[in-house]
Symmetry: C2
Subunit: 440 residues, 2 copies
């Protein structure tokens, strides 16, 4: 990460770039519909969007990985079953309600799939459902069924952008990435996810579409490998969603492609989308990139990197452009102590923005270095914090990614072979505002 | 927890109660001194306090447990050595700088011990040092040595309250708890700690003094047992300090006491201090108490409880008095999924404020229940959030604990024997303000 180094001056230029990313591969159509309902569990009306991705012909070449959360949503339970089925012909997604531990959760989700399948001329088991949003509420099944024909009627071949927008919840902007493959084929991926982000073998909702002809076994092997170094290496807030899903569908329309080119393209799209998810995380003003070297193995390296990006004290210090480097050591030491990862203080070396701050296990700090570290942190800020007009409510002032710069942390902990790259985010007033009353 | 159910109407009544708790057991004296210095690592002058606890006669009956952080502070390294020594005659604590990974860290801390020992007529190895504060800076050794005579001159037999105040950093108020023992003996404990709080076998700085005659073996066994259910069962922000220390010193002045009464008193003081640390945690407006039952074992029960109180999404929802109960399920499921703890959804039952919210793995929610849950959360608030006058800086409006009410969570996850009680805290704008520029 990253494979790109983009910068956008305003919302319009970002939206134009997104439109270029969003061209659908051959053999796919995409559409959306909106509905209003009043949840039984709350007093106020709410809005929901449906998003539909349809294949011209159901494909046996698909793969999906799901959350390891022990309370998976009903669509995840259904999705695991779909993996054993013969083919997929459509994906149906709703936002606003995640359908987790809800009464009749599986029944309602299956009924939606059956209705969509009927409208599309598919078998019910050929529709993969996804839901994201509030946990605990029931799907408003009648209103959703009533909105399905509008979603089918809106299906179009040119762009996935409306679907990338329809699946969002607290995200500030859609996330679309594409890789061109030799011979005119492509891979296009979309993602949603801004909070409850520390995926464990998957991330929020990610859909990867390709017209390359790849078989089912290749889809599943390549997707599993690609998520390891991308969605499984990020954390916004250390919370693992109950709905995490990454699905890959291959229409085959463009014929076979070089397997190496497909692998590279898939990994690049996954890495870029994973970084997009962090950059657009709830209240994120800084993305942290931690490169760990010298750990006993890759798992230990990733655990140490995650410990840094998940430390509330590191995250708040970064939010304040405060190079409180002592907290990096505390976070590393906590994880190593708790997991029994052997660290050699004499070989420990930390850098921030390329500047050595700990060498041989000892801090090397002075006032001039401090000023350079502050400048590095300030330079990676995605937007400046604005005082809250009402004294309490903080909102990000931008809804596009101004740049792709990160707070760069280097961590060497010894002479072992374990390396990892982990992305995380700061912890800001905007995050607290977003989550102190999310459902309202 | 808790063994008390206190409430205070104002700062003065809390301070009066503290003064009553703070009477020193026989055989101890306590004193403090203040100093100013300019850190080499920063431009602005800073203030530090020294705190000294001295025994009339060095005692072989002492115990201490330290952080499991893999980058322990120099005083922790020295303290581990002291455990093998013959006796302790004094404890010397400084705030403002934690002396972790600092150049000459151990040398400077040992020199302070030697100077204090000389002034008190002790051997250098009979002084236990502690440091807390910024990680990365060096101790200002000359200024500290110069302030030691003033600390010795201030030693007094009546109260530990000035020491309980001198060891604070971001704490809003001192934490002192006592247990009276049969026959006139007592146990008095003090604690500091408000951030970087998820102790692993100890907590920030805790000193427990008793005039009961207990031998070294009993001190060590009873302390190890007492910290398990107290300091090891709390988390403010999931960060484990590099300086965590809990020390118990017995002067023996009051003669032998019933071992059961000593054990009960020690555990009560530890539990109460641990709860005080959470209640006074950085930016804490709500204390969460999670009681877990039915887990496979006690370790799994504690891990599930910790997962709930460490979830940023649970913590921010509680901060907003928002009963976003779906996040409880997500947090439980994340931990169980990641650790492979078997959960039986059909036997999962959650309560909030005594109200069932999940039963048989399914949510039981309606608008009337929602209103009762909001009232429970609001009733446990320690103080109301005030809009920031400058739009950014949030400060708690009180510096005393108004009450000891908690947000009460019940979690049943199956039929196993594992139970645990875990205390945690919400995540507020006050926490972000406190930690975005802590060192200034």
């Amino acid at each position: 990460m990253p494979s790109t180094d983009l910068a956008f001056a305003d919302r319009d230029s970002h939206r134009r770039w997104l439109a270029g990313q969003a061209a659908l591969p051959g053999g796919f159509r995409a559409g959306t519909a909106a509905l209003e309902f009043t949840p039984a569990e709350a007093a106020r009306p709410a809005r929901m969007r449906l998003a539909l991705i349809a294949l011209d012909r159901p494909t046996p070449a698909f793969a999906a990985v799901f959350t390891r959360n022990a309370f998976p949503g009903a669509p995840v339970l259904i999705g695991r079953r779909r993996l054993g089925g013969g083919a997929l012909g459509a994906v149906l997604v709703n936002n606003k309600i995640s359908n987790v531990c809800a009464p009749e959760g599986v029944e309602r989700s299956e009924r939606l799939c059956a209705e969509a399948a009927r409208l599309l001329g598919l078998a019910p088991g050929e529709v993969l459902p996804s839901s994201t949003g509030v946990i605990g509420w029931q799907l408003p099944i009648e209103a959703m069924v009533a909105a399905l024909p509008a979603a089918v009627a809106s299906l179009r071949r040119d762009t996935i952008l409306p679907v990338a927008e329809a699946i969002l919840t607290t995200d500030l902007y859609p996330k679309v990435r594409r890789a061109a493959l030799p011979g005119g084929a492509s891979i296009v991926g979309i993602a949603k996810g801004a909070g409850m982000i520390e995926p464990n073998l998957a991330t929020m909702l990610v859909y990867l579409l390709t017209d390359a002809a790849v078989d089912r076994e290749a889809c599943r092997a390549e997707l599993a490998a690609a998520v390891e170094g991308s969605f499984n290496a990020i954390s916004v807030d250390s919370d693992t969603s109950t709905s995490d899903t990454v699905a890959l569908l291959a229409s085959g329309e463009a014929g076979p492609v070089d397997p190496g080119a497909f692998r590279d393209g898939l990994r690049r799209v996954c890495r870029d989308l994973a970084e997009d998810v962090v950059r657009n995380g709830e209240g994120v003003r800084h993305v942290l990139r931690v490169r760990v070297r010298g750990a006993p193995d890759a798992a230990a390296a990733r655990a140490l990197g995650k410990a840094i990006v998940n430390s509330p004290l590191v995250k708040t210090a970064v939010a304040g452009n405060d190079p409180n480097v002592g907290r990096l050591v505390a976070a590393l030491g906590k994880e190593a102590g708790a997991r029994g990862i052997p660290l050699d203080p004499a070989r420990t070396r930390l850098t921030l923005g390329g500047e050595p701050i700990v060498d041989g296990g000892v801090f090397r700090l002075d006032a001039a270095l401090e000023a350079r570290l502050v400048a590095h942190l300030a330079g990676a800020e995605l937007y400046p914090q604005r005082p809250a007009a009402d004294g309490i409510t903080f909102r990000p002032p931008v809804d596009f990614p101004r740049h792709e710069r990160c707070v760069e942390l280097g961590v060497e902990v010894g002479g072992g072979p374990g390396v990892a790259e982990v992305l995380g985010a700061d912890l800001t007033h905007e995050y607290v505002t977003e989550n102190a009353d999310y459902r309202s």
